[in-house]
């Protein structure tokens, strides 16, 4: 019985930087944006892993590569015990029933010319899992399930007739109708109004319980990630710098970057606190990541060792890993 629904091993995705004629002429070497540069993790049945990071860290690309929406440059993707890294599209198709994606932009992820109901049942018809009549029934049920009632009315509407929150529910319905085993949710609530986020997250949690769903929850908002996840992985410039149980990582961040991230998040409860760790500068150009530990130019605790070789992920406490030569002490 496979408990690891998904395992990603040393995954890499490099994007070649398009070269102009002059570059080719002058024989400049090819440059790559190393969006994902050796990422490894696993997700168990029924577990949610939050992938946290700022823009450009590679988290969205990681999600897309796992679902083979982009081809990996190197590494392995193991889904339900099967190596899917180099499967051809034909072989991949039946597996698509089991892994789905929820996107950030509810406006852009729905076909503007297809009715809501049609879009929700589309996966069923693509995979031949139901007749059109059966599918329609299931579509109506699903609409009720995600709270879009009266279901019959919503079935025939077009996306532009719905609000952002409603559209996101449609996207979730479409992803869940196949009862997948694994879902990649890429910033699913970032574009939703604050007061409605909880209901979308509740909806996801509901499906998670019902289907024993595993989820990779990608977000830049660590506060949201904390609510929904069992474990957290923090990414920086294409690599995971810390990964561990959610409450543990938040209470005792061991990587300076994680600490800085947590300190920078506004908090109502601790609004009067003095911020502990402030870092300067901005995320460097992913075409030329710093030598050694990628974070070292901005790290207040960096030593010479840090600029020479890149540290490995080491287990610093129970199931809690950090990639740092000088991890912070626990609180």
């Amino acid at each position: 019985m496979v408990n690891k629904v998904l395992e990603v091993i040393d995954l890499k995705k490099y994007f070649p930087v398009t070269r102009g004629l002059l570059d080719i002429f002058m024989r400049r070497s090819k440059e790559y944006v190393k969006a994902v540069d050796g990422v490894s993790f696993y997700i168990e049945r029924g577990e949610t892993l939050a992938l946290i990071g700022e823009s450009g860290c590679g988290k969205t690309t990681t999600g897309r590569v796992i679902l083979r929406l982009e081809e990996p440059t190197a590494g392995k993707i193991v889904f339900m015990g099967k190596d899917i890294t180099s499967l051809k599209p034909k072989e991949l198709r039946p597996l698509r029933k089991e892994m789905q994606m929820i996107f950030q932009d509810p406006y852009a992820s729905l076909n503007p010319r297809m009715r809501i109901g049609e879009q929700i049942i589309h996966p069923l018809l693509i995979h031949g899992l139901a007749t059109p009549k059966e599918a329609r029934k299931m579509g109506i049920e699903m609409l009720k399930r995600v709270g879009l009632t009266p279901a019959h009315e919503f079935y025939d509407r077009f996306p532009h007739q719905l609000s952002g929150g409603q559209r996101q529910r449609v996207v979730i319905a479409r992803a869940m109708i196949l009862k997948p085993k694994f879902v990649v949710a890429d910033e699913p609530v970032s574009m939703i109004d604050v007061s409605m986020r909880a209901s979308i997250l509740d909806l996801l949690q509901g499906f998670r319980k019902e289907y024993q769903l595993s989820m990779l929850f990608i977000t830049h908002d660590i506060s949201i990630g904390r609510i929904i996840s069992d474990r957290i992985a923090v990414m920086y410039l294409g690599k995971i710098v810390e990964i561990g149980p959610t409450e543990e990582v938040i209470k005792n961040p061991r990587h300076p970057y994680t600490r800085a991230l947590i300190d920078a998040v506004p908090s109502i409860v601790r609004r009067k606190r003095k911020k502990k760790l402030r870092i300067t500068g901005e995320v460097p150009d992913p075409r030329n990541p710093p030598s050694g530990c990628r974070f070292h130019p901005r790290c207040p605790f960096a030593t010479e060792e840090c600029s020479k070789t890149e540290p490995d992920l080491i287990e610093i406490s129970d199931n809690h890993f950090v990639r740092c030569y000088h991890p912070l002490a626990p609180e």
């Binding site: 929406l69 198709r93 996107f103 852009a108 297809m114 693509i126 995979h127």
Partner: protein, 290 residues
């Protein structure tokens, strides 16, 4: 008896047509009105044409009068009748040409844009070289080779417009292909065919419509030009462009009606389609900015 549902549909179409207060709607109405006017003119020609356009019915060069509202031409044919019957040729050629260029240009553009790669590169090169040719010269060359006849004219014009459709559709396909909802469809496991037919094609519809109305306008003028040069119809078939040419030498003689009326018709019909194209493109750009 006409079923009730159909009546309701018809009624709502008419209501929308007459009562919508959207921007550009007057342009649309005028444009559609003009085009419909000519379509009916063409359809009802046998009944509304006062005289046989190929027969001499009076003295030549008679100015417009009550009996001959648009006067008579060099042969003594009634200009009005020739105008009415001429609309048939124009509309036939233009619609046939546009249909042909759409039938070839759209699928090629879609496939080229979707699959990319070598196929795309080869097709694009071919289309670009066709596109680079001055349209009129290309049309003349083809028509000269095939021989003068309305159908051949249509083929020549179609040839000229295929690259335009190809380009527009290919461009739109490329842009839609990278949109999020197509990614979502791929993540669901949709096949290429499904994506092309259900996701890309329906979203191309409005672009196609706009290109259609614009290319139709151009086609009318090209047809007029070709028949002006004698490459379209054969005597004595009535055709606006042909009549324009035939009447031209007599313009300085003061026989203005030989040139004025055919020219006016060409202009009106072209304007009708242009208005529709304008109105639709305005609508579409509004819809995009939601």
């Amino acid at each position: 008896m006409i079923p009730k549902k159909l009546m309701n549909m018809l009624w709502s179409v008419i209501k929308t047509y007459l009562l919508t207060r959207a921007p550009g709607v007057w342009m649309l109405r005028v444009g559609v009105g003009i085009v419909l006017f000519f379509v009916f003119m063409a359809l009802l020609a046998p009944w509304i044409s006062p005289y046989d356009p190929t027969k001499r019915v009076a003295d030549p060069f008679l100015p417009p009068s009550r009996e001959y509202p648009m006067g008579t031409n060099r042969i003594g044919q009634d200009v009005l009748s020739r105008i009415i019957w001429g609309s048939r040729i124009v509309l036939y050629v233009v619609f046939l040409a546009t249909a042909l260029s759409m039938a070839i240009g759209i699928p090629l553009g879609l496939i080229s844009g979707y699959y990319g790669g070598k196929l795309d590169r080869v097709l694009s090169m071919v289309m670009d070289s066709m596109y680079a040719f001055p349209a009129l010269i290309l049309a003349i060359a083809i028509a000269a080779v095939l021989g003068p006849s309305p159908s051949n004219t249509a083929i020549a014009i179609a040839f000229v417009y295929v690259p335009t459709y190809f380009r527009m559709i290919r461009g739109q396909t490329l842009s839609i292909k990278s949109s999020l909802y197509v990614d979502a469809a791929r993540a669901l496991g949709a096949s290429d065919n499904t994506i092309m037919s259900k996701y890309i094609l329906p979203n191309l519809a409005h672009t196609v419509l706009v290109v259609f109305t614009l290319s139709v306008t151009d086609a009318i003028l090209t047809e007029a030009g070709l028949s002006y040069l004698g490459l379209s119809v054969t005597v004595p078939t009535p055709d606006w462009g042909y009549d324009l040419r035939a009447g031209q030498p007599f313009l300085l003689d003061g026989k203005w009606w030989l040139v004025f009326f055919p020219g006016l018709m060409v202009m009106l019909l072209a304007m009708g389609f242009a208005l529709i194209g304008e109105a639709l493109s305005e609508r579409i750009s509004l819809a995009q900015t939601r």
